[in-house]
């Protein structure tokens, strides 16, 4: 069998193209994996502090509800702090488990930006929202320990 020079060059070109495609796929794979590792690392490093902050927001809101409506000003300040904590949390939680945190952030931001003081019912709904996010995070943290490395 006799291969001409042009055929050999063509074969090399095809092999080269295939290698480029494989390299691109591998690069994308490594990029995705690195993002996972980065997020997992951030979650493990920051989770205890963020959990503590959430507990502190919940406890403060509950105390302020004891003196509602005299505590409206303090509640507004606490809501701003809660927004900051939730924003930080969202970037570190798995996309699939982000829904309740995202929903809580949206509701807190709406209340925090409103010119009207938050009603007692709105603050109570947020309080309950924090509790549910805390529970979800606690479960996520437990699952995390048993998750196979990606």
């Amino acid at each position: 069998m006799c291969l001409t020079m042009a055929t050999i060059v063509d074969i090399i070109a095809v092999v080269g193209s295939l290698c480029s495609i494989i390299a691109l796929a591998l690069t994308i794979g490594i990029f995705v994996k690195l993002r996972h590792i980065n997020r997992d690392f951030l979650f493990q490093a920051r989770f205890p502090t963020l959990k503590k902050n959430l507990t502190s927001h919940r406890s403060t809101l509950s105390k302020l509800l004891n003196t509602f409506p005299n505590s409206s000003g303090e509640i507004a300040v606490e809501l701003q702090k809660l927004v900051a904590t939730l924003k930080s949390l969202i970037s570190k939680v798995d996309r699939a488990r982000r829904a309740s945190t995202k929903d809580l952030l949206k509701r807190t931001q709406m209340l925090s930006c409103s010119s009207l003081p938050a009603s007692q019912k709105q603050v109570r709904d947020l309080y309950l929202g924090i509790v549910l996010v805390e529970e979800e995070l606690a479960n996520f943290s437990k699952d995390f320990k048993w998750r196979p490395s990606q």
């Binding site: 507990t55 919940r58 406890s59 509950s62 105390k63 509800l65 004891n66 003196t67 509602f68 929903d103 509701r107 109570r124 709904d125 309080y127 309950l128 929202g129 509790v131 549910l132 805390e134 529970e135």
Partner: protein
């Protein structure tokens, strides 16, 4: 937007949150009392005060207690814990709620109400005799 109850755990959360709300709104009135013998005898736990509230046919009781946490056969440390219980209709048997982080918030609300902090602050600000 309302948060939907999905699991039993969420139901418990909502129930305790509702008890906190009723307490803070003054619809559920708690009274402090000495612990009954069933909580102090035949147990190593230390209970110093029990809060009771009447809710329809049933009684609720909430009490902080210290319990021994054993790290070895004879090595232990005291640990603070909290219990929220509800009685049956005859008020003779009690069911304890599962441990939940917001029971701490309930204790805070109950103490605030039973001590009468808001009335005290009002009286201090108005210069009147407290609870007068």
């Amino acid at each position: 937007m309302e948060t939907k109850p999905v699991t039993d755990e969420n139901k418990i959360t909502k129930a305790i949150a509702a008890i906190i709300q009723e307490t803070q709104n003054g619809r559920l009135v708690w009274k402090a009392a000495d612990p009954p013998s069933e909580l102090t005898k035949g147990t190593e736990d230390i209970v110093e005060i029990v809060y009771y509230a009447d809710r329809h046919e049933r009684l609720l009781r909430l009490f902080p207690f210290k319990t021994k946490y054993y790290t070895d056969e004879d090595v232990w440390t005291w640990v603070d814990d909290l219990a929220l219980e509800v009685s049956d209709e005859s008020r003779s048997a009690w069911w304890r709620f599962p441990q939940h982080r917001i029971i701490t918030d309930l204790l805070e609300a109950v103490r605030f109400k039973t001590v009468g902090v808001d009335k005290f602050i009002d009286s201090v600000l108005s210069g009147e005799e407290p609870f007068g």
